[in-house]
Symmetry: C2
Subunit: 334 residues, 2 copies
């Protein structure tokens, strides 16, 4: 099976590619070939026997999308996107990449399939699309049910919601075999702190585990839903293996996660890494950050995803342990 | 005030234009000028004092959209669309008109506003967008709440749902002042019977009122939500006058209607036009039609629309009387 990953150089993309290379198979089928594309050069995974094509390009370009579809990957993980803050700052770029890019990819698949002739049959790949809980917009109930409407309050959220609708319509028509995955907050993000408003959700765990101070701009009672990067990869891989019958027409799924307060995150950090780590969290209330984050959805029912077998961590302790295993070589620095 | 109507030659478009011409004002402001566009020549309304420009063109063309925005209408009723059946048969045409057309119009408004200079200020018109209950897809509860998700099962529904998301995002950014109106079933449609699956909802009233037979392909217990063409026009005009504050960020609204069964429609016909009319309804059960129509949403809570002052008829008797007044010259034939 030929697998294509767009956005392969991103945080989740890299971890997905490593996992695919390690497993050597996905959805019960051996992987014979990998194509990795991103706007910056994707890394070749180690330990994969088959050919790996890495491409550095703008996937959103219609000609590039046609070229990618022309290689007829059996399974596509479409992760490439302009993130929320940038899509908000740069209206044209966000729409070009997040809307036109996704549509061009779907259309390229349709056109490739239309070439159906003696040497090439119809082409209907499984396409796993990374969507986001950003499709929701306040006000919402504390726990959002699966049937809640999408009223995004960012251009990113609007673009993802439109991507979901396109994916569902192309799938309904049998032009692609799509699944959309709405990620919750993904923590603990490895690497350096970033400037995003929700960066502290990772920061208050990641920095103290490395003996560094972390700022906490919100109150301990703020609740949110998190899953680890490992779970994010697990969601994508599980989505790749779902049958059309199990999915039905509602192919865009809200993922589960650990619903907990910042205080519970900190209590988990104490259990895993002791008071020493917790003491490195410095409370620095920031009204601007609190206002932004308070507008985000807190919890998700995710009934359908759970019934379809999607799994996140059981508690925040587990999310921290996953970070230590996957990003810190399995043990606490000190 | 300069008012632009796209889709001005359609059934609702014609009635809207007649009403605007008759009222001479909309949303409390006098209408100084009308621009009417459609793919077939729109009729000039009688009794309007100001200039009326009628244009026969494909509004979805980006250059045409730019030209329309260049005339800087203060109020735009965007009704132009490829209808459900045609959008389903012709994938490319449906997406080109219903998605690209709406997006081109929004983008043309944004670009026109960006010309903001000494002679032209920023340009942010009120844009009333005709959406549809077709954004919903089965299964749904008998009465759909305002916060129910959009999972369309037609390309038309997907295109309208995408139009809503674009309209909301452009409005959130202050690029346009949008309101989306999700129409219920609009009956009694004047004119000849058509081949649409739901055509009988109008047919079983319209034909008997004219002494003609009408086929009823479904059972008497089938429930549905209807409003008259006059109410459809009323929804559009009421939407034009809503304040931004009253609307808030959720600008796409499900309209109210008369929730009743086919049996209640027939009972209303009996009250209005007697047994003679009812006897012209011939029951001809059709499983294919029943299957299609049974997949459509039956009722809508429409709480927000009602709170914002949108009004439909009180009962089906009133819908029939409106048809007689507006389309049959106020009296039953013979």
């Amino acid at each position: 099976m030929h697998v294509l990953v767009t956005g392969a150089a991103g945080m989740v993309g890299r971890k997905l590619v490593e996992r695919l290379a390690r497993d050597g198979s996905c959805a019960g089928r051996p992987i014979s070939r990998l194509t990795l594309t991103d706007i910056v050069a994707p890394a070749k995974p180690s330990g994969f026997a088959g050919p790996v094509a890495t491409r550095t390009e703008d996937f959103a370009d219609a000609a590039t999308a046609a070229e990618l579809a022309g290689t007829r990957p059996d399974l596509i993980f479409h992760l490439a996107a302009i993130i929320s803050g940038e899509a908000e700052r740069d209206f044209d770029k966000g729409y070009r990449i997040n809307l036109d890019g996704t549509r061009n990819l779907l259309e390229a698949i349709r056109q490739e399939s239309a070439k159906n002739n003696s040497s090439h049959g119809a082409y209907v790949p499984r396409l796993v699309f990374s969507s986001s809980s950003g499709i929701f917009g306040a006000p919402y109930p504390a726990v959002i049910p699966d049937e809640f409407h999408a009223t995004p309050l960012t251009s990113y959220g609007a673009q993802k919601a439109i991507g979901e609708l396109l994916l569902a319509d192309y799938s309904r028509r049998g032009l692609v075999d799509g699944v959309g995955i709405r990620f919750p907050s993904i923590v603990v993000r490895p690497g350096k702190p970033n400037a995003s408003a929700g960066g502290f959700f990772s920061g208050i765990i990641r920095e103290p585990l490395q003996g560094l101070e972390a700022m906490l701009p919100v109150g301990d009672d703020l609740v949110f839903t998190h899953a680890s990067p490992r779970s994010a990869v697990g969601f994508l891989i599980h989505a790749a293996g779902l049958t059309r019958e199990a999915l039905g027409p509602r192919i865009n799924l809200t993922m589960p996660g650990v619903f907990c307060s910042v205080g519970e995150q900190i209590a988990a950090l104490r259990r895993v890494a002791g008071d020493k780590a917790v003491k490195l969290i410095r409370r620095a209330p920031d009204k601007a950050v609190t206002d932004i984050v308070s507008g985000w959805p807190t919890g998700f029912e995710a009934k359908r995803a759970l019934a379809l077998g999607f799994k996140a961590e059981q508690d925040f302790d587990e999310i921290i342990r996953v970070h230590i295993e996957d990003d810190l070589g399995g043990r606490l620095p000190n």
